[in-house]
Symmetry: C2
Subunit: 275 residues, 2 copies
């Protein structure tokens, strides 16, 4: 009998351990003010929220609790995006259907209160996000708790909010039933060797497969395209190592791809991958 909350926490830890993951904190690299140990503390801190999700609590409550706990370390935002993917996956696993349909059912059952929990979570962490789409200013996630009355007025569930988050790779997973997550999990299961190494390889595949949201938000579409193309051309671990050093140096951090990697690790662990 597996415990989905424990596997989710382990997925967070294996994700950050996987190396090289170009541009991200990994077992061999820290960023300037964001260190490996901040991710360790973030993963442990997220556990009570993950336990809530595994116990059947609403997505919004579980997510806000996870983010609040994650944030009790001095590095800032470590795993906000990972948790946005993991919470519905943990709920689907706990309900006995960890599949695209199962997680779509979790999504479709979300309420306005779940959306409120999502917005409140932004109060606990400094998350880099794009400007909201036209007409959505009052629902800019950077408004945090101030957006909650607007959610209630417009009767928007968390699924509604994420359906409107165009261009965000994590919101896209929510909308589409986590296709990239499940595909990457199957690649990891078909791969061999230590799980953290499989995670690093899956990270590069995901990065080659589509542009990283965080890179686009922080550096613009041209850098996002360049990073994707470069990832697609990597042919050896040595090349990946050199590129990892280069991206850290340039401050280019494909963090959304790391979120997807953590989500895929969780699915792989639930489907029998062993450390």
């Amino acid at each position: 009998m597996t415990d989905p909350a424990a596997n989710a926490e382990l997925a967070l830890l294996l994700e950050v351990a996987g190396t090289p993951k170009p541009g991200n904190v990994d077992r061999h690299r820290d960023l300037a003010n964001l260190r490996f140990e901040h991710f360790l503390a973030g993963a442990v801190g997220a556990r009570p929220g993950l336990d809530l999700a595994a116990g059947g609590a609403p997505v919004g409550e579980a997510f806000e609790t996870a983010v609040e706990g994650m944030s009790r370390q001095s590095g800032g935002n470590t795993q906000f995006g990972c948790l946005l993917l993991l919470v519905p996956l943990v709920k689907a696993a706990a309900a006995g259907d960890l599949s695209p349909d199962g997680v779509a059912a979790v999504r479709d059952a979300t309420t306005v209160e779940d959306a409120a929990g999502f917005y409140r979570a932004f109060e606990h962490a400094d998350v880099a996000v794009a400007d909201p789409p036209q007409g959505m200013d009052a629902l800019d996630v950077r408004c945090g708790v101030d957006a909650v009355p607007v959610l209630r007025d417009r009767d928007l569930t968390l699924a509604d909010v994420l359906a409107r988050s165009e261009g965000d790779a994590n919101a896209r997973e929510w909308r589409e039933g986590f296709p990239r997550t499940f595909r990457a999990a199957e690649s990891m299961l078909a791969d061999d060797g230590p799980m953290a190494d499989r995670a690093a390889r899956a990270f590069l595949d995901l990065l080659a497969g589509s542009e990283d949201t965080l890179v686009r938000v922080q550096h613009g579409p041209e850098v996002a395209r360049e990073v994707r193309e470069r990832a697609a051309g990597i042919e050896s671990t040595a090349e990946a190592e050199a590129w990892a050093d280069e991206l850290v140096e340039r401050g280019v951090n494909p963090g959304t791809t790391a979120d997807l990697t953590a989500a895929a690790l969780f699915v792989a662990l639930e489907r029998g991958a062993e450390v």
Copy 2:
């Protein structure tokens, strides 16, 4: 409000992340069949047992549960010794007295059932131990559950058993009220920089301070003395790094000193050290 179980799990993670810790798995080094990710999984797996300890369960039950969970990874024994120190410390913290007296009170309250849990824990992990003292053959920990009737016959508590474990540094902490653990925790609190770096420095100090039990069991007293003396002579991180490579190469693994480091990290976190 801190959660002692969460801090104990984080202590396990920070301990293995700390580098260089000569001879041990650390952020930059794996051993042949014992990898960094086995320690991540071991820490997550130990959590239910640590939660039991924080909730006031008996030491033996909490310890056996922690070891059983820790062992659900393919690397073998990762944190048996750490957990033997952490469980009574977590209980003392949860009871509001994380001090030499507080942990001595936990020790003095142990029962024959706690001793039985300790012996049963050896069924879950392959732990390297010395031969038992004369007249103690029937209580060799390697007997595991078979020793339990003997414990009952002789009415031996866990404190009694550990009082008879001569030459074991972890048992000595139990006997003496964890003096090295609390001293190393105070050094970490007085130190500065990232906690994993403080842990690596504390590890070297502890190793210079007394011979490592696991090194003596596996390689004999001369190697244990050599390692202690060498640790005392280390004067720079560069020297420590080179020595770390050398010890991994030789298969000399000061694992008991890592146990003490994890215990000290827990005390430091409970006393306000922040990641």
